[in-house]
């Protein structure tokens, strides 16, 4: 696409909303990239323990031009941080493409529906529906867990708001939210045989894309995808497999034991142990996993989780080559084009 065409298609202000294409449920870039058949990259921003908007933008700038969407976590690990909605609102203003994560732990259906309308009004185009970690694992174990909805009934809720233009109560909306609807999967945790069925349940409830927990076991991913293809799920839903960046064997062991549902095979830990530079080895493992995942039929992208190693996301994406030269839309690039157009 020429620079002129980019400006014509996407507007001069990076924060301006795009037009909604026919057959799309949102006007977001993330949906566009997936529906266009590109291999997509999403990543995760850690919301700060701060009221400083610049801190959010500084963290997001690390991903500029390397990813198609940025997940803003919602009190991940049941620890308190800036809210996902606020982070997303800051990001859309700059022209980033955020995915709002909504967990069922902290808010009931009244609050969640309000946030979904608010998110859409603030330019958020994608939502990830989660059950959420239990309060007992976080920094406020004394808090009251809500869990009024669960991940599946949350998916149903978004679909009712969006497609039926009403609240769960039946009261009509004047304008429904336009949201590309996502869910999480974990093919690597028990009950293994039921994980594909759980994926199917989420697709039936409305999931249009899914992002997975860390994948460190490529054979397990292959088996899971084979079963998903057999059930026709990959035709109805885009799958982004989670890729983690491990800093050391010690981190890997800690993750495996402290975070239930994280499965890291012994050979990965062995590789990190043997490596002279474990951090570089961790990145190499991520690059290799991305390349292997991109080869699996039915996988539409990867969700790169580089907690405390965010500055390496760009290099990992580039080295993996999974974008095949495609440069994801980025606020800085468009700002540059805007300057050119004015000059």
């Amino acid at each position: 696409m020429t620079d002129r065409a980019t400006i014509d298609a996407e507007g001069l202000n990076p924060g301006d909303p795009l037009a909604q294409l026919s057959g799309h449920v949102s006007h977001g870039r993330f949906e566009r990239v997936l529906r266009a058949g590109h291999f997509a990259i999403s990543t995760e921003i850690a919301p700060p323990d701060s009221a400083d908007p610049q801190e959010v933008l500084r963290r997001a700038a690390l991903f500029d031009g390397h990813v198609d969407a940025i997940n803003a976590t919602d009190g991940s690990g049941a620890n308190c941080h800036m809210s996902s909605l606020a982070v997303c609102a800051l990001l859309t203003r700059e022209g980033h493409s955020p995915i709002i994560q909504i967990s069922c732990r902290d808010r009931n259906r009244i609050a969640i529906q309000g946030d979904l309308l608010g998110a859409s009004a603030l330019g958020v185009c994608s939502v990830l529906c989660l059950s959420g970690d239990d309060v007992s694992v976080g920094d406020h174990p004394e808090a009251k867990p809500v869990f009024d909805l669960d991940s599946v009934s949350l998916l149903q809720t978004v679909r009712i708001l969006r497609d039926e233009s009403r609240f769960l109560s039946g009261r009509q909306l004047d304008l429904p939210p336009r949201l590309f609807l996502g869910a999480s999967i974990n093919p690597f945790a028990p009950p293994h045989s039921a994980r594909v069925d759980q994926f199917a349940k989420k697709v039936s409830a409305g999931a249009q894309f899914v992002q997975s927990q860390y994948c460190f076991d490529i054979e397990m991913a292959r088996a899971f995808m084979a079963r998903s293809r057999d059930l026709g799920l990959t035709e109805r839903c885009y799958v982004l497999m989670g890729v983690g960046v491990l800093a050391s064997a010690k981190t890997a062991r800690w993750l495996r034991s402290a975070i239930p549902g994280v499965h890291i095979p012994e050979d990965i830990i062995h590789r990190l142990e043997q490596a002279e530079k474990p951090r570089a080895e961790g990145r190499k493992i991520a690059v290799e996993l991305m390349q292997q995942l991109a080869e699996i039929e039915g996988i539409s992208g990867v969700h790169l989780m580089a907690f405390k190693q965010e500055e390496w996301v760009g290099e990992i994406v580039t080295q993996s080559g999974v974008l095949q030269g495609r440069r994801p839309w980025s606020p800085s690039h468009l700002a540059h084009l805007t300057q050119l157009a004015k000059a």
């Binding site: 007992s136 694992v137 669960d150 599946v152 945790a189 009950p191 039921a194 349940k201 239930p260 499965h263």
Partner: protein, 146 residues
């Protein structure tokens, strides 16, 4: 009781048989009771249900019983009260991430469902619970068709 609850899910097939065999009769009797006594016997009937299902399933009297769709493993025993399948945090040994000493209710549920004739109903989505029903009898709900 935890061990009885696990036993019930392991014997989901027999539980299903008992439910399908006796439920129509129980509901018919309750319909008669409701017709004659109105709401006068609601309290003892609810108490009886709580005792029986409490013993067998650690029932939490959510008022919207889903046992026949959840492999006879009560989802309200999940610390997150998830009614549509396990979260992503199930431990390698199939136990709960929040209560490591407890088997994940959804691991038990899928296991139980695999033994039931109509076990594939576990794939059906349960919509969010109506919290006004908490403490109310599912049996009476069936008898009153509401």
């Amino acid at each position: 009781m935890y061990s009885v609850r696990l036993w019930s899910a392991r014997h989901s097939r027999q539980m299903e048989w008992a439910y399908n065999t006796f439920n129509p009769a129980v509901v018919a009797v309750l319909r008669g009771v409701v017709k004659v006594f109105g709401r006068k016997l609601d309290k003892p009937i609810t108490k009886a249900e709580a005792l029986a299902k409490g013993f067998l399933f650690d029932c939490k009297m959510c008022g919207d019983c889903a046992l026949s769709k959840t492999g006879m493993s009560c989802p309200m025993n999940c610390p997150k009260t998830l009614r549509n399948g396990p979260c992503g945090g199930v431990r390698e040994n199939g136990h709960c991430e929040v209560k490591p000493e407890m088997r994940c209710v959804w691991v038990a549920a899928w296991d139980g469902a695999s033994r039931m004739k109509q076990g594939d109903r576990i794939a059906e989505a349960n919509f969010a619970l109506d919290h006004r029903l908490k403490g109310q009898s599912s049996w009476l709900k069936l008898a009153r068709d509401d």
